[in-house]
Point group: C2
Chain length 399, copies 2
Amino acid sequence: MVSEKMYALGAQPSAIRDLYEYGLRKAAEVGEENVYDFTLGNPSIPAPPEVNLSILQHITQDPSIAVHGYTPGAGDPKCRAAIADDLNARFGTEYSLKDIFITCGAAPAITATLAALCMDGETNEVIVNAPFFPEYKVFANNSGAELIILPADEEAFQINFPALEAAISNNTRAVMVNSPNNPCGVAYSEETIKHLANILAKRSAELGHTIYIVCDEPYRELYFGEGAVPFIPNYYSNTIVCYSYSKSLSLPGERIGYVLVPPVAADSRNIYLAVAGAARSMGHVCAPSLMQKMVTDCATVRPDIEVYKKNAAYLQEEMSRIGYRTAHPDGAFYFFFKAPFGLTAKEFSDMARDEYNVLLVPGGTFGCPDWLRLSFCCETEKLERVMPYLEKLYKEAEK
Amino acid sequence: MVSEKMYALGAQPSAIRDLYEYGLRKAAEVGEENVYDFTLGNPSIPAPPEVNLSILQHITQDPSIAVHGYTPGAGDPKCRAAIADDLNARFGTEYSLKDIFITCGAAPAITATLAALCMDGETNEVIVNAPFFPEYKVFANNSGAELIILPADEEAFQINFPALEAAISNNTRAVMVNSPNNPCGVAYSEETIKHLANILAKRSAELGHTIYIVCDEPYRELYFGEGAVPFIPNYYSNTIVCYSYSKSLSLPGERIGYVLVPPVAADSRNIYLAVAGAARSMGHVCAPSLMQKMVTDCATVRPDIEVYKKNAAYLQEEMSRIGYRTAHPDGAFYFFFKAPFGLTAKEFSDMARDEYNVLLVPGGTFGCPDWLRLSFCCETEKLERVMPYLEKLYKEAEK
């Protein structure tokens, strides 16, 4: 007698986790240096030195109760103000602490936001363009929404606009945007964002209800493409931002992020309160207090992403030289490439695993069953060592 | 256009928070020493020294990625093993890391547990005896259950068994137990727990489905009554424990706790997986990784609760001497007393606030509208200073 829905979510096998665990077992057998695990998106660069310095200062100098005590549910006002100030300085906005709700990372930020936007007892739909982070489906479903998946634009990995236009309905509450994208590393261009904003503004007016953009932005600071990543609230006012410091400060285990509800968004105060209510209903009390102190100190700290940039360039050059069809990453730490010669990604992934202990995530789970994700949050040397195997695999696939 | 349910939860005024904020405003006006705020359950003793020592060691000696990286969703295996070992050493149990799921504190532990136990699409009921922590209602509702509240036993603050027997039905999924209790500080006796176990075993058999006990145990280590607090899984095998280190290690802001699903509980593996699935659906990724390292080191550390014990004894003696009817706290840091001479708790709380800046939480929100909660997580000296006012208030109420 347990909830079948929750049991299914807990018991569901995960392709990524299964591959990762295979890698651990195999490494014990044949040695770590002979297993090429590119499955997980765990940052490989250490947290910037300011992070541990801040933690040390608070632990050694502040009273225990001030460091480890409850903060308000929305977060320590100083931390919220520091985040708003940083955004304002970079993006010319006028946010205040009242617009920021601090969460235990991006995942609960997204669940609370979607729950806030979905109408009780109605049919709710949230649209996402493939490829997409698969947990969005879990989060949408938990909020009472169906996730509508648009087929990928396999040329440029921008938005499939004809499919988007066809998918928008009276039930559409939000479009999820994740740029730079997990799993393909591509960022949406300014042109794409403008076109998206135009469509949503037009359709919101026609339908008589606001369609929001919900941005999942953990990779905002991990961008090495041309120019700057467009800050979406500046193109479409009805945008709610879900942010995480997991990748930008290299601390994915610490669970610290936020929801930004810009005051110019339609119904912004009500949405903010509904986000707070949704978070509360899921057991949010506050985000970890020590990490809030750290973010207060480190809100303006940016990561050193040289190694990610170098890895992306190396993979792009080598994989193209071999003949692979690839996405061109602008950010994050994911390289997305197509299984060659008509193989499915699953077939190619199995081949790579079984022949050379090379672990690559097949893209079915991301909505692209012919593509594979290689997480390049690692030393470049590991990529250089695996490249001969990727070349051999290409030639074998050709046969 | 927002979820009305979530908006209501976020916008709902909170008697406790309102009083607390009144206190802050008043303190700015008349001086902190002239405001007697007893509203919040924020521990007043610092975290044991082992806590910050552990944090310092990991920050200064471990690689950044090892300290701040993702852990498995269920938690770092070492941390889970340390928790199981500590429980086994104290309670003679045989738990293993597979029985422990680490969460961001007790609140998400409870929401995930209730969501795991509630049947999709059925009427679900969770029973709690007043007085009770008011968020249980929010958590139960979010899991699709109604919270059935049993009237308080205002004599001994044990369980109202006739009401319990009448309330159990085919829809009953669980009975919530919080002992030592917030807000009354009383712990259930061994006799109470045995009687509860007998009733639930009998009724589960009659109804043909298991009724679980869900224990919320943040105050387990804050016990100063006679003997030891009964460890409920040793009296009723179908018990699921939700624990938090907030109070026992004085770090409520850090969000670290766990769900224990004992292997002897009916359907235990399925419940464990359903807890994992429910947590995932609410955006749980892992509990804060640095705090997991700390708990691994500090699983056997107990708080020094001398000041709480002393405060409880002082309040018990003085408040009884004045003439108040009181609960007799065995643990936690809450003193519960009845508004005298037929006043409602709200009337008495308003009087105390308006005349002497004494802030006490009226018990309506806990299911006891005639009783008040005084949080004594403070220096004894503050209690000594407020006592003349509590004596005056008693005499004024008599008029």
